[in-house]
């Protein structure tokens, strides 16, 4: 298969992020369990790490978080930093240990999402955010579960956007 050019790549990823943000802010607040909603933008970041490896994945995660930050009143750049780190971590793990079983990306999405929520809480506390009234373990658990449910279609979409759907990496990571 012909590799995807940088312009096409940027266009596809931008399109994916706009669709993701629209779903997150338009439908996300309506879909919640125990008062907690899923985090599609974090899932896209994790999908970036899984599909495209640590460096491209981190870039996708950064863009995903920065787009989300634009629509929040929380510290600008905090989601970008968190999601880039999570995507890099997932991409690095995938490079070294992940193999082809179908459940591995789903479990990775769940674990990565939970780690992302906790990391957001830690970094947010460092930059002065107040998390009173928020149970981070509960949020991490619910976000992990909801993101695991949405993992399969989201990772497929990220694979398409990053042009990795037919690569050896993608085949080994997600069928």
């Amino acid at each position: 298969m012909t590799p995807v050019g940088p312009l096409v790549l940027a266009t596809r990823v931008s399109f994916l992020l706009v669709v993701g943000l629209t779903i997150q802010v338009g439908i996300g607040p309506e879909v919640h369990v125990l008062g907690v909603q899923g985090d599609l933008m974090l899932l896209i970041a994790i999908g970036g790490g899984l599909a495209a490896g640590p460096d491209r994945g981190a870039a996708v995660g950064f863009a995903s978080g920065l787009g989300y930050d634009l629509l929040l009143q929380t510290p600008f750049g905090l989601s970008a930093l968190t999601y880039a780190l999570v995507a890099f971590l997932v991409g690095s793990l995938q490079d070294s240990v992940l193999r082809a079983a179908w459940w591995i990306p789903v479990a990775t999405a769940a674990a990565g999402s939970a780690v992302g929520v906790i990391l957001y809480g830690v970094l947010g506390t460092v930059v002065g955010m107040d998390f009173v009234g928020v149970s981070l373990p509960k949020v991490a658990l619910v976000v992990g579960t909801l993101n695991a449910i949405a993992a399969a279609p989201t990772i497929r979409a990220v694979r398409w956007a990053t042009g990795t759907q037919d690569s050896v990496r993608a085949r080994s990571v997600y069928r």
């Binding site: 870039a59 600008f76 890099f88 009234g133 928020v134």
Partner: protein, 277 residues
């Protein structure tokens, strides 16, 4: 590419992204206009997209809530009918008292809450993340809304406008830990500062009362409307549920339940009060 070189490139990419994130975080903390401008543009662009997504999802969402919450809705409906009857009786007495108060305040040239023009708006989105304490409404600067204006509904204070685009606004909720408003105990007149304490949590009210003072459960709190306050006086804010000793044990903190349930907002009113920001 050799594994070591690829790992080196990955680390370099990550370092650049971390550096960029820290740079934008710094810009935000320094209140750089570029961040606010970018947020305003993003809110303007996403407002119609959000509306489309909401329109598509509403039937499914309503259907789900109808099935899942049917029993609760029936019980709530009964309670509301009963409450409506009570309120109808109180309304006549209050209308008379309100008119007398407005006349008196008018003679003294003091601002009266019900004289402030209002703009009705619909809530188009709740908090868009698990850590956000804002909602979106469907009116913006084209309807005369400005940043800092108080937002209320029939129950009381909802929050304040923090970001305005031509056709939508972002409202910081009263439960945001960064939200603070001057309040007055009714009828004592003691003033204090109510602060948000997170979604679903009660407000915490700092007061000058001593630790030995007694404040009964059920005492109402309204905005104090003191000098330079962003909020006019007499907006219902919360009801005292219990008291706690303040830090140091010398003062009394009040734990108060907000009048407004931020998770159930459908319509709100923006008080078009110039210079509120």
């Amino acid at each position: 590419m050799a594994p070591s070189r690829r790992a080196g490139r990955s680390r370099l990419t990550l370092a650049l992204l971390i550096f960029t994130s820290l740079a934008v975080l710094t810009l935000d903390f320094r209140d750089a206009g570029v961040v606010e401008g970018a947020r305003r543009i993003a809110a303007t662009v996403f407002s119609p997209l959000r509306g489309v997504a909401r329109t598509v999802s509403d039937p499914f969402s309503n259907g789900w809530h109808g099935i899942a919450d049917y029993g609760d809705l029936e019980a709530e409906n009964d309670r509301l009918r009963e409450r409506l009857d009570e309120l109808e009786g109180e309304r006549v007495l209050e209308a008379d008292a309100t008119q007398q108060l407005a006349d008196l305040l008018g003679q003294l040239n003091i601002e009266w809450l019900l004289d402030i023009p209002r703009e009705q708006a619909r809530v188009i989105s709740g908090p868009v993340s698990n850590f956000a304490h804002t909602i979106e409404i469907d009116k913006g600067s084209s309807a005369g809304i400005e940043e800092g204006m108080p937002v209320v509904n029939g129950a009381g204070l909802v929050g304040r406008v923090v970001l305005v685009t031509p056709n939508s606004s972002t409202v910081q909720l009263i439960t945001d830990p960064d939200f603070a408003v001057g309040v007055r105990l009714v009828p004592d007149g003691v003033t204090g500062t109510a602060r948000g304490n997170g979604r679903g949590e009660n407000l915490i009210v700092d007061t000058p009362l001593g630790a030995e003072d007694v404040v009964e459960e059920g005492v109402e709190l309204t905005t104090s409307g003191e000098d330079r306050s962003n909020y006019p006086a007499s907006i219902p804010v919360a009801t005292v549920r219990r008291t706690e000793q303040g830090s140091g044990g010398l003062t009394l903190d009040l734990i108060a339940e907000p009048k407004v349930d931020p998770d159930r907002l459908i319509f709100v009113q923006i008080l078009l009060r110039k210079g509120a920001g």
